[in-house]
């Protein structure tokens, strides 16, 4: 595709052992067509159970009330919105890899973008649960939050509210990511279709691939469409977390009301997103033996990105403190001191360790290129990023302006099961994805091989 256009220095580390086009097809399509390894069944059994737990918790929540969570006054938002922001953050890596790295002609994105895009979709799906179910009356919110004409009520949304901006941003993001993902998927679906053995499979894939036949005329529009989508998704992905950060930045609560939030949140999102990609990728790479296509080069680059964004996040933490002090605003100063040394100090320092200190290990090439190390670190980073959201939301609310109204938030078992359940849903969707769809874009890898061979002259 477009990155073929520039015959840049081939980096052999991106595909190992000069596979032919057919090898790519056989390898990638093979995963989908063959039986899944045992571990897959075990995994989906577990994650499926968690997903059911999520469903149960939400049912309990809707029938009983928000009171089943630990939320209280003053802490009106707690784990619910923490989870929302966390998952939305995770959901940034995919689009980022597919769109931004694409625009920047980063060829190493090729074999991980499909994977990351899928992850984005599932993360956004998980995120989407919380804004709806954190409301006291979801059965109303489900349509009152959208500008659906209501002849009987005749009242509209308040477009001054960041929550409404959220509704539009998140739903747009979900839709566009899905389009982007599906568009990229169509040619691969055609490949699967043409390899399909059973009639049913043929029909289904035939319909899904919309009769794609790889005609040169198709590719012409297709490549432009892909480019445009990348161009649109890039500002979109930046806007989404910016708008999510507005939920806080636009408020009057010390610790929320901060202009640094948009860049800070976006960096954090990329940070956690990449961490999640690495976590899952190293597993998939192992289980499905994809070392040929997902090389150490890919992983190392992602670790570098994590190191960079980790530094940005750390810088943001520091800046917050400096500004709080520099502003001379007593409430600002208090809120930040309270974060570090107040009742929630443990959350704060967990966040700092996981997000700022530990990623520094990536300066060392040995760590950067060690699969076990990056696996552990990437998980820790996501722990840290979850706590970042917790710290921002809960500590700021728990002690704001009037000391008389200060309170302490304690989660309930329902809170915990809901969070666990959201991971269940995420992973279940993911396992289904690797089971049914090619987790590496065959078309793109072939394109890259072609470019390489064109350069080196020898035939695949």
């Amino acid at each position: 595709m477009a990155d073929l256009a520039i015959a840049q220095e081939l980096n052999p580390a991106l595909v190992l052992g000069k596979p032919g086009y057919a090898d790519v097809t056989r390898k990638v399509a093979g995963i989908v067509e063959g039986r899944m390894p045992r571990v897959w069944y075990i995994a989906i059994a577990c994650t499926g159970t968690l997903t059911l737990a999520l469903a149960a918790m939400l049912a309990y929540l809707v029938t009983t009330g928000i009171g089943v969570w630990g939320n209280n006054s003053p802490v009106g938002w707690a784990w619910d919105i923490t989870n929302f922001v966390f998952w939305i953050g995770i959901g940034h890596a995919g689009t980022l890899i597919s769109a931004i790295l694409f625009l920047f002609r980063q060829r190493w994105r090729t074999s991980i973008n499909r994977f990351a895009e899928a992850m984005t979709l599932f993360a956004v799906a998980c995120a989407g649960i919380f804004p709806l179910f954190h409301t006291g009356r979801p059965w109303r919110a489900v349509y009152w939050l959208f500008p659906v004409p209501n002849p009987a009520l005749h009242i509209w949304q308040n477009f001054r509210s960041p929550l409404i901006w959220d509704v539009f941003a998140v739903s747009t993001y979900a839709t566009v990511s899905a389009l982007f993902w599906y568009t990229g998927l169509v040619p691969d679906l055609a490949t699967l279709r043409d390899r399909a053995k059973t009639r049913g499979r043929k029909i289904v894939l035939g319909l899904l691939s919309l009769g794609w036949r790889g005609s040169a005329r198709h590719w012409r529009h297709y490549e432009l469409a892909y480019l445009l989508l990348a161009g649109l998704s890039t500002p979109l992905v930046l806007s989404v977390h910016t708008i999510v950060s507005f939920d806080f930045a636009v408020s009057v609560i010390p610790g929320w009301h901060t202009t640094i939030f948009p860049p800070y949140f976006v960096a954090g999102a990329i940070f956690s997103g990449f961490a999640m990609v690495v976590t899952l990728m190293v597993i998939a790479r192992q289980v499905f033996n994809l070392k040929q296509f997902v090389t150490m080069k890919h992983l190392e680059n992602m670790n570098k990105v994590m190191l960079a964004t980790g530094l940005i996040v750390g810088f943001a933490y520091a800046t917050e403190f400096f500004i709080a002090w520099y502003s001379g605003n007593r409430y600002e100063r208090f809120v930040f001191l309270n974060r570090a040394f107040g009742p929630y100090w443990w959350a704060y320092w967990t966040m700092v360790c996981c997000n700022v200190f530990i990623p520094q290990l990536f300066w060392l090439k040995r760590v950067r290129t060690s699969v076990p190390a990056m696996f552990v670190i990437s998980i820790l980073i996501n722990v840290g990023m979850w706590f970042e959201r917790f710290v921002i939301i809960v500590t700021s609310l728990s002690r704001d302006y009037l000391p008389s109204s200060w309170g302490y938030f304690r989660p309930t078992p329902v809170d915990m099961l809901t969070l666990a359940g959201s991971f269940g849903l995420f992973l279940t969707l993911f396992l289904l994805f690797v089971r049914f769809l090619p987790m590496i874009s065959m078309t793109e890898v072939k394109g890259m091989i072609a470019a390489d061979s064109a350069h080196s002259g020898d035939r695949p």
């Binding site: 928000i66 939320n71 009106g76 704001d400």
Partner: protein, 957 residues
């Protein structure tokens, strides 16, 4: 009180309505809608198939009653034998809201938390519903039959005893006389745990006769309270608060205000208001008084306990101040203090020439109660009592522990208990009779100074209860005498002739009976006796325990009242519990922290209590609230708190000396509504001394405080028509809970229970923030009522995604519950944290009968929606519609009163139209003490505060 009506619909002679018909009739309209509405709204089936719903109009219209329009009736409620005149609002025949009676000398329009909550007590489903005979359901007729046999057989009744609560009802007195006539040998004992025994003894000691002092705080410039919480718990009425607050209100820096000194062990509401507070064990107060007497030259300067004590200086300054204000000063002794202290107080007032000016005396029929009860207990123990008729009260629970009442009552052959609830005593009695609630029955009652009021009912007895008067009449052989006739005849007897009927109706209407105040008496204290008594006192050493009435359950009688149980204690902010209050030092001494259980032993008795550290409490002293740990009071109060009566003996009913404390390893969860007690140096409550105020009248405004801040958008103009606003005078507010309870009653605010309070989910729309300042051991305390500030640039509005909260043209921050989806974003973004969220369905457990207490003019909020103070918008709309109908466009100032404002005994809250330069609220907002909190956020609140002032003695400053 727009429409008060002399004739009472449910008092029509005879029962045209079957029992409870009035109930059904009353529930029919809004309440029915409420129940359905709530469920309908929840299911959201507004447009789908409609359930058939009936309207049940009364078969016969009720005179003067327009369905939907409330009626107001004057009545009176008694607490500890002291009546307060009230005005009760009734919707379609069900009382829903209590207000003070402006014409009553000890209410003047105000009502206390207890009064406000009493309406819930009426509908308490756990109230006694039927006559019980030996634990079996019975009926009034059966009892009547029994009584006929039992009592007519009785001759002079030498083995018959009557035990009642303090009697302050003329009609009951009359019937009592009648009864004692019939049974000349019988004895009548009055007992209430919160009594004025010591005061009476003190008067006896000082004057040789039983007189009651009536204080005139409005005339006093310097006040000394000797362990007396006369603003709250030690006054059963609100009149004193009115008088006191009148002298705290300051219009400008040129004004003066009174000065309050207090010597007390527990940190009381009065203590929080004091300009000088000396924390001291209650047991040391007698010594203190003695020294004060010496300092004032009443006693020969001799041995002086405080001689070389830092408190010496305090005492000297106090003495000089009292002297300086001779005739305008006042010394008040608290009910927990021994007779000597009361006597000394009389003596000092006399010496300072205050008697007749700031304090006057009236005859009182009261006699010491504990002694009498002790005697009765002895007779019971000796088996000399055959029939015991208990008219109200709960001695089995609240009698001094050493009398072992509940043990000896079993030795009595026939015990008859008349009670609003089948309480600890009721379950022991052979016969239990349901008593009518004061809102259900006719009666009369005397106020502090003897002024009588007619107590008229607003509804038929819900559970067929009868009054003490009726029961007594029945016992003494006059069957079917109705309270209405007894009370009426009792008074008509005093107004012979034609105008009798007219006077009767007028008294019903006004709620006070003129010329019934007891005559003043001149009394001269006997210095020698008092001096001797003072000399006789020796300070006991060791830990002391003192008992005080609970701000929620009083003596325990309100234990089943959810509103009161959940109302945070004004000082500790504890709900649903009492605790052992200790000073921080004493807590350190015992090595205990909040919630740790200690066992307190005194006089061979022992109880276990959780600890609550109370800054400003006297060291070496423990305060225990009475009225908790009820075992037979219904599902609300059951198991709330710990019973402290177990430690209270007839010998030392108020202060026990020489107690010992041991730690246990148990802890106990206490629910408090405020977890942080320092203002963190934030300018929330702004306070200064009167002097500072005079020097810098604008002290309430920091120089850097800009009120006209830059804003991105042009400011929305609110200069048309009514613009509602509120001003709260922190200098007047004493922090009693009256406004909280009034708001709860007016706005259908649910209770959430202890567990939810611990989670921080209480629903009160107005809360009293109490902050401590200064040293932890001996801090000052301030209270600040905070409700929705009705910001013009409301942060809550801009963040609501569905526009459920937005602004009215009159500057109200509207909240449309039915639009709310419950994101809680508004609450998060409210800097004042005044929004309340229905985390669960808090009305789930409200029973049918309790629903009658709902105010039909306010929506009952469902689970999942946000709510908050509305400035009582229902009252605003009602009055506006009225005005329009009466062709007046401009509303008269003061025509609309918010619930909190109307009941406030200190008149600290003023609401009105800030667009009207003449309105009181505008006048207050013009004052230089006026400020808004968090001004710098540019929320432009409509509620502002008048800074607090203290008036310290320059000598001590």
């Amino acid at each position: 009180m727009s429409e008060r009506n002399p004739c009472n619909p449910v008092s029509l002679p005879g029962d045209e309505f079957p029992e409870g018909a009035s109930v059904l009739d009353a529930t029919s309209r809004r309440t029915l809608l409420k129940l359905m509405g709530a469920s309908l709204g929840l299911a959201g089936l507004t447009a789908c198939s409609r359930p058939v719903e009936n309207i049940l109009p009364a078969a016969k219209g009720v005179e003067d009653q327009i369905p939907g329009n409330p009626l107001f009736y004057a009545t009176a409620m008694s607490l500890g034998g002291v009546a307060t005149g009230l005005l009760v609002e009734a919707h379609d025949g069900r009382p829903t809201k209590i207000e003070g009676n402006p014409d009553h000398p000890f209410s003047r329009g105000a009502a206390s938390a207890f009064h406000q909550a009493s309406v819930l007590g009426l509908y308490d489903p756990d109230r006694s519903r039927e006559v019980m005979h030996e634990g079996q359901p019975s009926a009034w007729d059966e009892f009547a039959a029994f009584a006929k046999g039992h009592f007519s057989a009785m001759a002079a009744g030498e083995r018959l005893r009557f035990l009642s609560q303090t009697v302050n009802s003329p009609s009951l007195e009359a019937v009592r006389a009648q009864a004692l006539n019939r049974f000349p040998q019988a004895k009548w004992i009055e007992y209430e745990p919160i009594s004025e025994d010591e005061a009476l003894a003190g008067a006896e000691l000082a004057f040789g006769r039983a007189v009651r002092p009536i204080y005139h705080f409005d005339k006093a410039d310097a006040i000394l309270s000797l362990d007396s919480d006369f603003l709250a718990l030690d006054s059963q009425t609100v009149g004193y608060t009115k008088d006191f607050a009148a002298r705290r209100r300051v219009a400008s820096e040129k004004d003066t205000m009174n000065r309050l000194y207090i010597v007390e062990s527990q940190f009381s509401v009065t203590g929080a208001m004091a300009d000088h507070r000396l924390r001291m064990r209650s047991g040391d107060v007698p010594e203190f008084v003695a020294d004060l007497a010496r300092e004032l030259g009443l006693l020969p300067a001799g041995l002086n306990v405080l001689n070389n004590d830092p408190r010496r200086r305090w005492l000297a300054a106090l003495a000089r101040d009292l002297k300086k204000n001779a005739g305008r000063s006042l010394v008040v002794a608290g009910p927990r203090q021994p007779a000597a202290v009361h006597a000394a107080a009389h003596w000092i007032n006399q010496a300072l020439g205050n008697a007749g000016k700031t304090v006057t005396y009236v005859e009182t029929p009261r006699r010491p109660q504990i002694a009498a009860l002790k005697e009765l207990a002895a007779e019971m123990a000796a088996g000399r009592v055959e029939t015991l008729v208990i008219l109200g009260g709960n001695p089995a629970y609240d009698a001094p522990a050493d009398l072992e009442f509940s043990r000896f009552v079993k030795k009595v052959a026939v015990t008859i208990h008349l009670g609003v609830e089948r309480n600890e005593t009721g379950v022991l009695a052979k016969w239990h009779l349901p008593e009518a609630h004061y809102l259900e029955c006719w009666g009369d009652a005397r106020a502090l100074d003897g002024t009588a009021s007619i107590q008229q009912p607003l509804i038929q007895p819900l559970y067929g209860g009868r009054t003490a008067v009726e029961t007594l009449a029945l016992i003494s052989g006059h069957k079917d005498q109705r309270a209405y006739d007894i009370v009426r005849n009792c008074w008509l007897a005093q107004w012979p002739g034609a105008h009798g009927e007219k006077t009767w109706r007028k008294c019903l209407h006004d709620g006070v009976i003129p010329l019934t105040a007891s005559p003043r008496v001149e009394a001269a204290p006997d210095a020698k006796r008092i001096a001797a008594a003072l000399a006789a006192r020796r300070t006991a050493t060791g830990i002391e325990v003192n008992f005080y009435p609970s701000a929620s359950t009083w003596d325990g009688r309100f234990a089943n009242n959810g509103w009161l149980q959940e109302a945070p204690d004004p000082m500790t902010k504890l709900t649903w519990d009492n605790a052992a209050l200790l000073s921080p030092a004493t807590a350190r001494q015992f090595g205990v922290a909040n919630g740790e259980v200690i066992s307190i032993a005194a006089g061979g008795r022992e109880i276990e209590m959780p600890v609550w550290i109370q800054p400003g409490h006297a060291d070496q002293s423990i305060s225990l609230a009475l009225g908790y740990g009820r075992t037979a009071c219904g599902h609300v109060g059951h198991g709330a708190g710990h019973d402290t009566y177990a430690l209270r003996t007839s010998a030392a009913p108020h202060v026990v000396a020489g107690a010992s404390v041991t730690r246990t390893d148990r802890t106990y969860k206490l629910a408090t509504t405020q977890e942080h007690h320092s203002m963190e140096g934030r300018p929330l409550v702004r306070e200064a001394s009167l002097d500072t105020y005079r020097k810098q009248p604008a002290f309430a405004h920091k120089p850097d405080e800009k009120t006209n801040l830059f804003q991105l958008f042009p400011r929305f103009s609110y200069d048309q028509g009514n613009q509602w606003g509120m001003a709260i005078d922190l200098n007047a507010c004493i922090g009693c809970n009256a406004c909280v309870l009034a708001c709860q009653a007016e706005n259908n605010i649910p209770i959430v229970g202890k567990e939810q309070v611990m989670r921080g989910r209480e629903m009160h729309w107005i809360r009293l923030d109490r902050y401590y300042g200064g040293p932890e051991e001996d801090p000052r305390a301030v209270t600040q009522p905070v409700a929705c500030q009705q910001c013009e640039n409301a942060p809550c509005e801009s963040v609501c995604p569905v526009a459920a909260t937005n602004h009215s043209p009159e500057g109200l921050n509207d909240m449309a519950y039915n639009r709310c989806v419950g994101t809680r974003y508004c609450a998060n973004n409210c800097p004042y944290k005044v929004r309340r969220f229905n985390f669960l369905d808090y009305h789930k457990d409200v029973q049918e009968v309790e629903k009658m207490a709902f105010n039909p003019d306010v929506t009952v909020r469902m689970r999942g929606v946000m709510e908050k103070c509305t400035y009582c918008v229902q009252r605003i709309q009602e009055k506006k519609i009225q005005a329009q109908a009466e062709g007046r466009r401009a509303l008269r100032d003061g025509k609309i009163l918010t619930a909190c404002q109307q009941t406030c005994p200190a008149d600290a809250i003023v609401f009105g139209n800030i667009n009207d330069p003449q309105s009181r609220v505008t006048q207050l907002k013009k004052q230089n003490r006026d400020y808004t909190i968090l001004t710098e956020l540019n929320t432009r609140p409509r509620t502002s505060y008048l800074a607090k002032l203290r008036n310290p003695n320059p000598e001590l400053a």
